[in-house]
Amino acid sequence: MTKISENELILKLKEFRKIKPREEWVILTRNEILGKKESAFSPFPFFSFFQHKPAFAMVLSLIILIGLFGFTQSSLPGDILYSLKRAGEQGQAFLVSDKEEARYDLEIVGKRLDDLTRITQTKSAKKLATAINELQASVSKAAGSLAKTEATNNPEKIKELVLEVKRLEEKTDAVKSLGIEIGQDEQLNNALSYLVDCQIRDLENKTLTDEQKAVLIQVKEDYQAGNYSQAMEKILLLNQK
């Protein structure tokens, strides 16, 4: 191989990101390790009675579904219908494109924070513990989606993520003001840190004006200080210039 510079070597190393496992193997392995999820709750326990009148069964099923949907939206972690609400959210998640996944997952974190706020008012310790677990699970998922987000110069995408993160910060402050300590999630911080780091390295490779260079210095300072949402806001401004 001809002599290669360090930068060229780094670029070639990055090519290895294209190495991915087979999708079918990934799914199969997950199912083998974790087992397929079985639904313990069937919303149609009397369906078999109507198997000879399929049209009637369909109409009835639709009415039950619409009725349940209304009830499930207000259910909280620990409620019987909460699993249906989660199933509905997971169903919606399948329809969300890869590009929208991070934003959608952050919205779900917002919903879990709303649930937690409402549960605090019920003063149910058991539901509170479940709600906190649900919140942590949703944060973990959002952190994963953020980490998978490809570094992009699409200002609209960055803007959406920044706005979602700001909404979450406001809701988190509201929950904390009720006396609930939910702590700072390291995974989410790491994911935001990773996103900001990608953006910084992307900007370093661009030709910037003096004004933009000054803003980039501030972004790096925010990044070093762990103020990732502030760093992202400044990155957004830079991308709009």
């Binding site: 191989m1 190393l13 290895f16 190495i19 699970a137 840190s193 990773y194």
Partner: protein
């Protein structure tokens, strides 16, 4: 248990590509990488089920399991690296066959050299330049200072450059 399963499923989704890639770059064989990667997550799940609070940093924990499995694999098979004929192709969107062949051969050379580096070096290079982990994250996973990680990366890159 359902919540545990859901959380670990998310951990799996977030890390499966990285762990597979990490192992593949060491063993250079798709079937072996798949075996070791699934064993990694199986062991991870067993530990997680018993006490998820023991695992402070899931990616670091999974990488540690993967490293141990790779060591065991080489101990059993000897130091000879098995080059598999059915190793996963590196996808190159460039349709120019001649250029593609040239690029692939370059990458094969680098892949072989990377696999031959000492563990600290190859690991640091994979984490930093392939998985894009920030220095701070690598420092946490290796229990080193950020300065030490930068030095390690510099030495690793220099050694890799000499090997290619």
């Amino acid at each position: 248990m359902d919540i545990q399963r859901e959380i670990f499923s998310q951990i799996y989704n977030q890390n499966i590509d990285k762990i597979y890639r990490f192992i593949f770059l060491k063993v250079n064989s798709q079937p072996i990488a798949e075996d070791l990667a699934s064993e990694t997550f199986l062991r991870g799940w067993e530990t997680f089920k018993q006490d998820q609070n023991r695992i402070e940093n899931p990616p670091a924990f999974l990488y540690q399991i993967a490293r141990n499995l790779i060591t065991d694999y080489y101990r059993e098979r000897g130091k000879t690296q098995i080059i598999s004929a059915d190793c996963a192709p590196i996808i190159d969107p460039d349709s120019d066959l001649e250029k593609k062949a040239f690029l692939d051969s370059d990458l094969e050379t680098i892949k072989t050299a990377l696999a031959g580096l000492k563990e600290d070096y190859s690991q640091a290079l994979v984490w930093r330049y392939i998985e894009d982990l920030p220095i701070s994250e690598i420092a946490k996973m290796t229990n080193k200072s950020e300065g030490a990680v930068r030095v390690l990366l510099h030495r690793a890159l220099k050694t890799l450059k000499e090997k290619v």
